[in-house]
Structures are given as structure tokens and as C-alpha cells.
């Protein structure tokens, strides 16, 4: 046994020294950007939100480029970040990241800079102005991805069971809600921003301007609101099917939802409606980003080009229910779903609606205004969220 203990100790020490000494090389962005795409590698591995990569538009891509696509579905931005970092960034080639993941990936050097000259949509004005170089995927003029879909976290409700039709989020937050235990909330710390958004409208004395830049006092108030909501929540959904199943069997009747969930229920002819209430809504604008150590970079670049095609964006918008980032997709979308759905439900390429959504972003200590570095960062959000969720 002594022999083995000695061997174990040696291994242990070696492991310690090795981990202490090894450093991961971070890709230096902006050094040599390719201007043309090389030969494709035959395979592409993507991390995507459910509903972003359906066979309807993935299969033509596979036939066109010969890149066989493999998908990992993530439920939260945190999972996307974690997956992109596996194996030093070699496991997955690209990700459809939301704003609360993009900056973390950029700062840590996990994603590669791209050359906008490779994508005509940047220069010919097709991409919505707000999404050409937004802070969540462009840093100091360096672009780290191409825009995909954007949308809001809507208030979805069962039209037969929730009467009168709601116009505010209050039936999901206030204690006098008639739908106790049938409310659905999103299972991620980023949902704190939804609470903050509600307080921004209903408790202006707190002084909340950006629901992602919360001081300690403001965060306390948001957490208190979430704690108040906690006993009324029937399910915190992480998988879209949790919410869809709940609405299907009637155990959930109102709550926050993605356009994808809403569309799925509509397709199954369930009596649901979804709105952006008076207080506004949180939302997301997703970017396709490429890993800085991608094993199939050419296939990924081809995918990025493919997804900027207005026909593809229109198809995705039709299926998912979110808005394209490319303006020329809207006429096509109108042809697919009709004017009413394209404009009133999907808000196709509507810059007004986009500017009013509180897009997901990573909370950091730097408040970005005259409050300095007094805001709470995401790890605090995570801990506080766990306190609410675990009680």
C-alpha cells in the first residue's frame, strides 16, 4: 500500500504543478483577418437556442456546403458560455449567443474577430442600424459575430383562462394575482432584470434606469419582488417544453415566454396570446459567434454568411416568431405569414420596438454612468438568485 500511496502522491504533485504552470493561450483578436473563406471541412458543430436550427434551413445549408451540422441546445446563456470553453474552445465551432454571453466570451478571448467585409449585408445597409455594431458584439470597432434574430420575453397567457386580457405584468408579480401557482417564470439569474424592469415602472423612487445595472439597494428590491413571486410560481421553466407542456395541460396559464414557445402552442392550436406589456419587456439580440479555436472555421464562416441571407432569416422568423436583423427579410416574411403577424406580432425589423426592449447584457460592477463601480456583477446576481430559487 505504501508503494501506491507514494505513487499517488507523486501523481498528485505532478498534477498540481502542471495545472499551476499551464496557461491557456488567448487568441489575439484583430491580427490577421481572412478576407476569403477557404475550403470547407465537412462538419460544423453549433451551440444554439432551441428553434434556431431547424431542418428546414439547416438541410439546404448542408447540401450546399457539404458541412454536416451537429447541434447542442442550450437553455441559458451560462450554459452557452460554459460549452464554448470546453476543451479550450475546440469542441464547438460557433454559438448563437445573446448579449449576456457575448461580452463574457469576448473578454475571455473565446470568440474570434470576424471581417465584416466578408458579409455584404454590413456595407449595403441591409442590417438594421442598431445591430450593425452594437456594444454587445462589437468592441473598439472589432466585430465578433453576425446578427441573427432578436425578440422580447413576452407575457404569454391562456386566452380562455386569463380574463380580462392583461396589459401589464402585474398579474405575475402582485400578491393579489388570481393565478397563484399557475404562473410561469424563467429559470435563470438573468430573470432578475425582469423584476427590475417592473420596479422601474412601478417604484420609480428606486431610480432604476437600466435593469442590468443595479446597485445593491436596487438589487435587494428586485430580489424582494422575486421572493414575493416565488410562492405563486407553478414552474420555473428552463426547457421550453416545460412551459409548453404546462400550457398544454392547463397547469400554467400566464408568464414570461419566448416567441418560440408561443409559436409552438399556436401551431398546436392552443388558445394563447402573447404581448409586450405596458412596462416593456426584457429581450435579446442574438449573434452568431465563432470560437477562436474552432476546428471547422470555414464551415462556420459559411454558416454566418448563410444566416444573413434574407430568405433564411425570414424562414427562421416564421418558425421561431422572433424578428430578423436583416431588413430585406421582411417582405419575404410578410409573404410567409401575412402583414398582421409580421408587423404586429413579430415587429419585423422594427427599430422602435428593438430600442425599447431591455436587451440581455451581462451585469458588471461598472455601472456605465455616474455611479461608478457600485453595481452588482453577475456572480452576485447568481448567488442572490439561488437564494430565491432554493428557498
Amino acid at each position: 500500500m505504501k508503494r501506491y500511496m507514494r505513487a499517488a502522491a507523486v501523481l498528485f504533485a505532478v498534477g498540481l504543478i502542471a495545472t499551476a504552470c499551464s496557461t491557456k493561450k488567448a487568441a489575439t483578436p484583430g491580427s490577421t483577418l481572412p478576407t476569403t473563406i477557404g475550403p470547407t471541412e465537412g462538419s460544423l458543430k453549433l451551440i444554439a437556442w432551441q428553434g434556431y436550427t431547424e431542418k428546414g434551413w439547416v438541410q439546404p445549408f448542408e447540401t450546399q456546403t457539404g458541412c454536416k451540422v451537429e447541434i447542442h441546445y442550450s437553455d441559458t446563456s451560462d450554459d452557452m458560455v460554459a460549452q464554448m470553453r470546453q476543451g479550450g474552445g475546440t469542441v464547438w465551432d460557433g454559438v448563437s449567443a445573446s448579449g449576456d454571453a457575448t461580452n463574457r466570451l469576448i473578454t475571455a478571448g473565446n470568440v474570434a474577430e470576424i471581417n465584416p467585409a466578408m458579409f455584404p449585408a454590413f456595407s449595403n445597409g441591409d442590417i438594421m442600424d442598431l445591430l450593425k455594431a452594437p456594444a454587445h458584439n462589437t468592441v473598439n470597432g472589432h466585430h465578433y459575430g453576425v446578427p441573427y434574430m432578436w425578440g422580447g420575453n413576452l407575457l404569454m397567457y391562456n386566452t380562455q383562462k386569463v380574463k380580462p386580457a392583461p396589459t401589464s405584468w402585474d398579474i405575475t408579480w402582485e400578491t393579489n394575482s388570481p393565478y397563484k401557482k399557475k404562473i410561469v417564470a424563467y429559470d435563470s439569474p438573468i430573470f432578475i432584470a425582469d423584476a427590475a424592469l417592473y420596479l422601474k415602472a412601478h417604484k420609480p423612487a428606486l431610480g432604476i434606469t437600466n435593469p442590468y445595472e443595479l446597485t445593491s439597494m436596487q438589487l435587494d428590491a428586485a430580489i424582494a419582488l422575486l421572493a414575493q413571486q416565488h410562492p405563486m410560481v407553478g414552474k420555473y421553466w428552463a426547457l421550453a417544453s416545460d412551459e409548453i407542456d404546462g400550457f398544454n395541460n392547463g397547469s400554467l396559464v400566464v408568464g414570461t415566454s419566448w416567441p418560440y414557445n408561443f409559436n409552438q402552442l399556436l401551431t398546436a392550436k392552443k388558445p394563447v396570446a402573447a404581448i409586450i406589456p405596458s412596462e416593456g419587456a426584457t429581450g435579446w439580440a442574438d449573434t452568431w459567434m465563432m470560437s477562436s479555436h474552432a476546428q471547422h472555421p470555414n464551415c462556420m464562416l459559411k454558416w454566418m454568411q448563410y444566416t444573413l441571407d434574407p430568405n433564411v432569416q425570414a424562414k427562421v422568423a416564421e418558425f421561431y416568431g422572433a424578428s430578423p436583423s436583416v431588413k430585406s427579410a421582411c417582405p419575404i416574411l410578410v409573404g410567409l405569414v401575412g402583414t398582421k403577424t409580421a408587423n404586429d406580432a413579430i415587429h419585423c425589423a422594427d427599430a422602435n420596438v428593438l430600442s425599447q426592449l431591455a436587451l440581455w447584457q451581462t451585469p458588471v460592477a461598472a455601472c456605465g454612468d455616474n455611479r461608478g463601480n457600485t453595481c452588482e456583477d453577475y456572480s452576485t446576481w447568481t448567488t442572490r438568485w439561488q437564494q430565491v430559487r432554493g428557498s
Binding site: 501506491y4 498528485f12 451560462d78 426547457l239 432554493g390
Partner: protein, 307 residues
């Protein structure tokens, strides 16, 4: 002088090969240490390098920290993670909730397993035994995830269970996403793993002992209580290890069938979601320590021979 003809060469060659093999065999026979090393080396080497080394490194990282913005692990030694676990009561709540349900699952499964294990071991004939064991093992071959989703359908409001009980005028349970659902699903999932060790140890009880007990005047109930069950205790403890351990760390069932957080959920959210491996490792020490103690106790009760 004999010339090595082909007919002689063959047996010579085999004799030489056999001779080499004999020499190796004799060498090994004399050098016990080398024999032991060859036999024990590979499995222990594997466990040490692949498992224990990785585990040690993981729990070492519980003393490190994660940078909030980049998410990269900073190797500064500190006990912040443990301090946070201690001060925030929610982690105690979650741990107690998990341990409570794990204990309940183990207890309920033992009660459910005993009749079927006893019947298969001591009452059923050989064909009945095969059939029963097959029936117990078959559900394990249909994916764990699919079975959990099947229970979601059964326990949903207006699902199969409520539909049946309302038609039988018993009323509705309305389990839905709740701790009750989680309990039912856990009890269901691990039941075969509890039945098998109990069956194995009940089968090993020598019939002569039972006869002797009867000869000494004990009724069956007394024999059961004072002879059979104590002898089957290792199997019962072994089964309870499965039920308890598997419940303690599971995060999939609480997130699919329930609505509250369990130990596994917190660990998973911190490693697979927030990528805060140091904190996840710190909290993961809780079930590890609990299982370590449980296993030590089980070893005293000789459960390992019944696994």
C-alpha cells in the same frame, strides 16, 4: 546422434514455448509482489489516475475563486466559497431537503422491495424466479429520461393519474411539478436497484437455518424477524446505498418533475451553467462527505459483499 527431424521439431518447439511460459509462470509463482503488482496495478492505476486524481484536483479547486467577468479560475487560495455556503441559509435548506427526500426514497424503496425480493428468493420456483427478475430488470433498459418524462405525463394535472382517480371518484392529487412528484419518480427509478441486492442476500440465507429456527419452535414471523432479516441486512443496506446515493446527487429529476432546487441542481447550475467550478466543488463536498460516512457505516454492516 539424433537429427532434428520435422516430426521431432514440432514437439520441441511447443516444449520450448511451454518452457518459456513455465519459466514465466514459475517466476511469478515465486515473486508474489510482482504477481500482485500485475494483477492489482491496472485497476488501481486506473482508479488513481483517472478518478482519484481528478477528484482531488476538483476538490482542490474548491479553495480557488472564479473571476466574475471572464469566468476564468484564479488560483488564489481562500475559503470564500465555504464561508458563503455556511452563511447563506438557503444552502442548508437545500441540503436538508435533499437528504430528507433521499432518506425517504431509500426507506420507501426498501419497503416496496422486500415483498418482491422475498417472493422471488424464497417462494417462487426457478421459472417464476427468472420471470420475476426479468420483469424487475426490464424497465432499466428503457431510457431513464424517457421514464421520467412518462411520469411527467402521468402526474400532470389532468394527466393519467388524475384522470383515473377522478373517474374512480377518489378525487385528484394534482401533483404536477412538486416535491411529491420528485419523490414518486425517485422511488420508481431506483426500485430495481434496491430489489436486486436484497434478493441476492435473501437467496443466500441457508434453508437449514430456517428449518432449525422452525424446529426450535419459532413461528414464521419470529423467524423472519430474528433470522432472515438480520441475515439479509447486508443486502438491504446495499440497496439503500443505491437509492440514497443516486437521489442525493441527481439534478435531472428535480428539474424535470419538480419545481424546487436540490443539491445536484445547485452544483449543476454552478458548474454547467455559471461555470463557477470552485463553488460547485465546494458544495459538492457535502454529498461526498455524507456518502463517505454512509459507506463507512455500510462497510461495518458488511454491505459491500452484497452489492
Amino acid at each position: 546422434m539424433t537429427v532434428a527431424t520435422p516430426e521431432v521439431e514440432q514437439p520441441l518447439a511447443t516444449a520450448r514455448k511451454a518452457g518459456a511460459r513455465h519459466r514465466v509462470s514459475a517466476f511469478l509463482h515465486r515473486h508474489r509482489g510482482v504477481r500482485l503488482g500485475l494483477v492489482l496495478g491496472p485497476p488501481m492505476g486506473w482508479m488513481l489516475v483517472v478518478y482519484l486524481g481528478a477528484l482531488a484536483l476538483l476538490f482542490l479547486s474548491a479553495f480557488w475563486r472564479q473571476d466574475p467577468l471572464t469566468g476564468l479560475i484564479q488560483r488564489h487560495w481562500n475559503i470564500d466559497n465555504f464561508r458563503q455556503l455556511w452563511h447563506l441559509s438557503v444552502y442548508r435548506t437545500i441540503a436538508i431537503r435533499t437528504i430528507g427526500i433521499a432518506a425517504a426514497v431509500a426507506a420507501i424503496d426498501i419497503v416496496l422491495a422486500l415483498p418482491i425480493a422475498y417472493y422471488a428468493a424464497r417462494i417462487a420456483g426457478p421459472r417464476g424466479k427468472t420471470a420475476l427478475l426479468l420483469a424487475v430488470v426490464m424497465p432499466l433498459w428503457s431510457s431513464y429520461l424517457v421514464r421520467v418524462y412518462a411520469w411527467r405525463v402521468i402526474l400532470a394535472p389532468n394527466g393519467m393519474l388524475d384522470w383515473t382517480t377522478s373517474h374512480l371518484h377518489i378525487g385528484t392529487f394534482n401533483f404536477g411539478f412538486s416535491n411529491w412528484s420528485v419523490l414518486i419518480v425517485f422511488c420508481y427509478l431506483w426500485l430495481p436497484y434496491v430489489i436486486l441486492p436484497i434478493f441476492a442476500s435473501l437467496e443466500r440465507v441457508p434453508p437449514s437455518l430456517i428449518e432449525a429456527s422452525g424446529d426450535l419452535g419459532a413461528k414464521w414471523r419470529t423467524t423472519l424477524r430474528r433470522v432472515i432479516l438480520p441475515l439479509a441486512l447486508p443486502g438491504i443496506v446495499a440497496g439503500s446505498i443505491f437509492a440514497f446515493a443516486l437521489t442525493l446527487g441527481d439534478y435531472i429529476v428535480p428539474s424535470l418533475a419538480g419545481n424546487t432546487q436540490f443539491l445536484g441542481n445547485v452544483v449543476y447550475q454552478n458548474v454547467g451553467v455559471a461555470n463557477n467550478v470552485p463553488f460547485a466543488a465546494a458544495y459538492a463536498l457535502v454529498p461526498v462527505v455524507i456518502m463517505g460516512l454512509y459507506l463507512l457505516g455500510a462497510r461495518k454492516l458488511k454491505a459491500f459483499e452484497a452489492l
